[in-house]
Amino acid sequence: MTAAVDAPGLPAVAKTGLFKRWPILRRLLRHKAFVIGAVLFGFILLVALFADWIAPIDPNRISIRNRFKPPDLTHWLGTDNLGRSQLSRVAYGARLSLAIGFAVVVLNAVFGVILGAAAGYFRRLDNILMRITDALMAFPAVLLAIGIAAALGPSSMTAAIALSAVYIPRTARIVRASVLVVREMEFVQAAIAMGASHLRILGKHVLPNCLAPLIVQLTFIFAYAVLSEAVLSFLGLGAAPPTPTWGNIIAEGRQYIREAAWITVIPGMALAATVLGLNLLGDGLRDVLDPRLKISQA
Amino acid sequence: MGTPNSAQLLSVRDLRVEFEYESGAAPAVDGVSFDLAPGEVLGIVGESGSGKSVTALSIMGLLPTPPGRVAGGTILFEGEDLLPKSPAAMRHIRGKRISMIFQEPMTSLNPVFTIGDQVMETVIYHERVGRRAARDRALEMLEKVGIPSPRARLEEYPHQLSGGMRQRIMIAIALACTPALLLADEPTTALDVTIQAQILELLRSLQDEFKMAVVLITHDLGVVAEFVDRVAVMYAGRIVETADVAGVFERPQHPYTEGLLASIPSLDTEQTRLTAIPGVVPSPFELPAGCRFAPRCRHARPPCTTIIPPLLPRGAGHGAACIRHVDYRTEGLKS
C-alpha cells in the first residue's frame, strides 16, 4: 500500500513527507467528525488569536447612542445595553475562554501525569491518592469548582485554579489506569529486571505508552473547562465585568432577553461551537489513537 | 449429487456462503452438499476456518448478516427449503425442530436470568404451555441431562454453575422441544478432557433416547470416532472427503484426512495443534486456485494447483476430492 494510491488528491509533499512521518494524521483527516471539529475549533481559535485585528473596536468602549443595535452591516453582531460592540466582546471573550481552557489543560497535563504516574507506579501511594480522588470526585464537578472559586474570590485566575482542581483527579485516574496496564507489559518488566531507574522507566517506557488516552482526555478536559468557565463567569465567579467573558456577557444580556435577545444568543453560540468542536476533536482522536475504546463505541 | 433428496431429514445442496467486506467478498462455504437421514449422526470435521460453523449457522438461519450472506444452494429440511423461508417461519423451526448448541458454555447462557427461566422459555414459546407445565418440563430436562438437585438449580444463575454443567443446561434447552435435528458446534472444545467425555456420552445417550439426527461439528477426529455414523471432512469451505466412520479411519482417501488422523491428540496430553500438517487454512480472501489443500499437501503435483477436484467416489458411500488416485489425463477432469 502506498500513499499515492490511498490519497490521490493530495499534493506530492503531503504524500511523501507529512503522512509518512505521521500516518495517524491521514487517518484523522479521514475521520469526518474530527475534520468538522477541527474546522469549528480552528475558527474560534483564529478569532481568539486575532481578536484585536478582527474586532478593532475596544470591547469596553461605551457608546450610548448605539445601544441595543441588532446585528447589521455596521455592527456585525449588534451592540449591548451600553452600546459596546458585541463582535469585540465575543472575540475577546473567546480569547479569555480559550486561555483559561488551555491553562486548565496544561495544569491537568502536568499534575495529572505526576499524580497518576505516581499512583500507578508506586503502589504504596496508590491507595491514599485514589481515596483522595474518590473524595474529590464525590462532589459534582461544577459544584466543587463553584465552591473553590467562591472561596478564592472571583477572577479568571481562580476560575482556572478551581477547574484544574476539579479535573486533575479525573485525569490522574486515567493516567493511573494506563500506567497500571503498561507497567505489566513485558518490555517494561524487562527494563525493571535490567535494573533501569524508576524515573527512566517511567519517562522512557511507561509514559509514552499512556500518551494516547491522555491526549484524548485532555481534549475533553479542554471542552469541559471552557464550558465550566462560562458557568462560573455566568454566576459571577469568573473574570469580573467589564472584562468580557462569554459567561458574563450572557449574564448581563439576560436582563434584556425580551428586547435584545442577540446579546444572549450570540456568545452562547460561540461557546457551543467551541465545546462541540473540542468534543468532535476528542471523539476523532479517541477513535484513531485509542482503538481499544473504539471497539466499544463501534 | 445433483438434486436434493427430500426423503432425507436434511439435504444440503451446493450451499455457498459469502462474507462481504469492504475489501471484497470471501467465500466461507463453497458448494457444500450432504444428506442426513432421520436419527443419523454426521460429524463435520475440519480445522477452524474451514466453514463448519458457517454451514451450521446457515441451516439455523442465524448467519450474521451482514457481512454473511447465503449466495446459493438449497437446504431441504423435512422436505422444505429453509433458505427462502420468512424470519417468522424460521423462528418456528429454530428451537423446536432444529436446535443448536455452541462451543462456549460459559457465555452462551444469559447471565441475568435463572436457569429455569432460560429452559422454560423455549417450551413456553414453542408449545404455548403455561408456566407450571413449562417448569415441569424444565425439571424433567435437567434430570435427563444429569444435573444434580435439579429443583434447586432452576432458581440459580449461570455463573453459579461450572462449564460442564452449563453445557448440560444448553443441551437441556436445545432438547426441551424434542427437535428432529441437533446441530452441535464444537460442544466439548471449551471443556476439560474428562468433562468432554461425559458430555459426549450424554449426547450419545440422548440421541438414542430422542431418536434425533445430530450434526456434530468438531476439529477433533477423536471425538468423531466415539459418536458419529458418518463423517464429512471440510477444508477451506469445501467437503474434501465423506465416508462412514470406519472408512475414514481405516481407508482415508484425502491427504488432509490423513493429516487429521495423524494429529489426533492422545488422551493424556492437551495437544490441539495439527502437528502432522504444516501451514494453516488459507484465508477465504486468498484462496489458492485448484485444490485448496495443495499448498500444504505433500502429495501435490502440478495439476493440483489448476484443477478443482470434485468429490470422486472411492468405494461404497465413500468420496474424496483428490486427484491423487486417478489419472487426471485419461479421466478428463476440467478445472
Binding site: 462560562a230 458557568v231 425580551r258 468534543n279 | 428451537g95 436446535s99 455452541f102 452462551s108 444469559n110
Partner: protein, 317 residues
Amino acid sequence: MGRYVVARLIQSIPVLILVSVISFGIMKLVPGDPAVLIGGPTATPAELDNIRQNLGLDQPFHVQMGRFYAGLARGDLGRSLLLGKPVLEATIERIPVSLSIALYSMVLTLFLGISCGVIAALKRNSWADQAAMAFALIGVSLPNFWLGLMLIILFSVHLGWLPTGGYVPWQNDPVGWFRTATMPAVTLALLQVGLLARITRSTMLEVLRQDYIRTARAKGLPEFLVIAKHAFKNVMIPVITVIGVIFSVLLSGSVVVESVFSVPGIGSLLGSAVLRRDYPMIQGGLLFVATALLMLNLLVDVLYAYFDPRVRYDSRS
C-alpha cells in the same frame, strides 16, 4: 444482599470523612480574612470581631475543626449568615423543590436517552442513528444556562406558552407545577439525554454481539423478545451505573438552571450563597450535596446488584 449493602455502607465511610475534610478545607482557601470579605469594606472592627466570633474564626485551627465535627455529629452544619437559620434546615426546606424537578428531569432523561440509544443501536448507521448521535454530541456541548435562556426566548417570550420562571409546588397546583417545572427539567435533561443515548447505544451493540443473544435466537424467540428481554436487562447494568453520574450532573446543573428559572431550590440557594459569600451555607451545602450523592451511589449499587445476579451472590464484594 443485606451483607452487600452493609459492605458498601462501610466502604463509603472513609470517602465521607474525606468529603467532610474537603468541605471544611474549602473555607480555609479564602485568602486574607474571611470576616472582612463577609462584612464588606464598611464593616466596623466591632462588627468584624462579631463575625469572627460567630464563625469561630478567632479560635485556633484545631478548635475550629473540633467544632466543625462536633456540629456534624449533632447534625449541625452551621448557620447561614444570609438567612439567619441553620444551613441544614434551609437546605431541607428546599429539597422537595429540587427533588421534584430532578426526578422529572431524570424520567425525561431515562426515557429519551434509553429509547434513542436502543433505536440507534438497532438501526445502526441509519439516518435515525446518525441523528441520535449528532443530537447526543450537540447536547453535551450546549451550556445549560444558555440553553435555558434559549427556551425562555422561545416558549415564554415568543410563544408565550410557559412562564419565564418561578415555581408552583405540586401539591398546590399540579398544572402550575408542570408549567413551571417543565423548562428547568427539559434544560437539565437535554444535556444528559445524549450522554445516556451514547452509552445505551454502545452497550446495546456490545450486548448484541454476545453468545447468549445467539442462544436466544437459536431458541427461535421472536426478535422483540430477544431485544426486550435478553438484551435489555443486560444493557441496563452499565446504564444503571451512569444514573449516579447523571444525578450528579443534574445536581450541579441545578445551581445554574434554578438561577436561570428563578426556582427556589437547593441549587439557587447555593448560587446566591456563593454570590453573597455566605461561607457556612456554601460549606454546609457542598457537604450536604456530596453526602446525598454518595448515598445515591449506594442506592445505585444496590439497584445494580438487583440487575446483575453475579454481583448479588458474590459476597466478597
